[in-house]
């Protein structure tokens, strides 16, 4: 099944700084989604970017997609302590379902 691989596995920054996470995948996709998981909670959908889009914004989130490199990045600007969570990418193509990897664990220090 299609599975995204997030990088880095862990990221620790100070409040106010920007956080960048990357995702790579292997086969062609229809869209790619980013999810957040707070400790002990379920996944929360953040943003979806379609294969014909290169960049998308939602509040403090900016997602880019490079289908030629089969990669995506998630940028969180002006981070807050509440952004502390694990972030997962989910590439989706054809009939394959979302399969999540290990995610990037982001820690934002006050």
């Amino acid at each position: 099944s299609q599975q995204g691989e997030e990088d880095p596995q862990a990221l620790s920054i100070q409040e106010g700084e920007n956080a960048t996470m990357n995702c790579s995948y292997k086969t062609s996709i229809n869209n790619l989604q980013w999810y957040r998981q707070n400790s002990g909670r379920g996944l929360v959908h953040l943003i979806l970017i379609r294969s014909n889009e290169r960049e998308k914004h939602s509040g403090r989130l900016r997602v880019t997609l490079d289908t030629s490199k089969k990669s995506s990045s998630l940028l969180i600007t002006a981070s807050r302590a509440a952004d502390t969570a694990s972030y997962f990418c989910a590439p989706e193509g054809g009939s394959e379902k979302l399969v999540f990897g290990k995610g990037t664990k982001l820690t934002v220090n006050p």
Partner: protein
Amino acid sequence: DTAVSQTPKYLVTQMGNDKSIKCEQNLGHDTMYWYKQDSKKFLKIMFSYNNKELIINETVPNRFSPKSPDKAHLNLHINSLELGDSAVYFCASSQDSRGDGTDTQYFGPGTRLTVL
């Protein structure tokens, strides 16, 4: 106004027992899913139901059986529990009338199952 709810939140049980986890969504979605997140944090799909019909049945032991009494509910029954079944199980739903996973999935809070 919880969108996707699961019960129980925690479940601790002995090997060999039979247990159920319940899931309900009030979003009016057509498709519901069960995921398993193991100790390595990989989240993998187990089952998908679209309008009460099984769409996806990944390679899981037949001790796991989903039951969908109606479109808003998808329960997971597990027979003869084993140590390796210990994990967090997530229910999700999406407004996906085609059942091909192209719509956003909304997840429940998870059920942490511990088999002793």
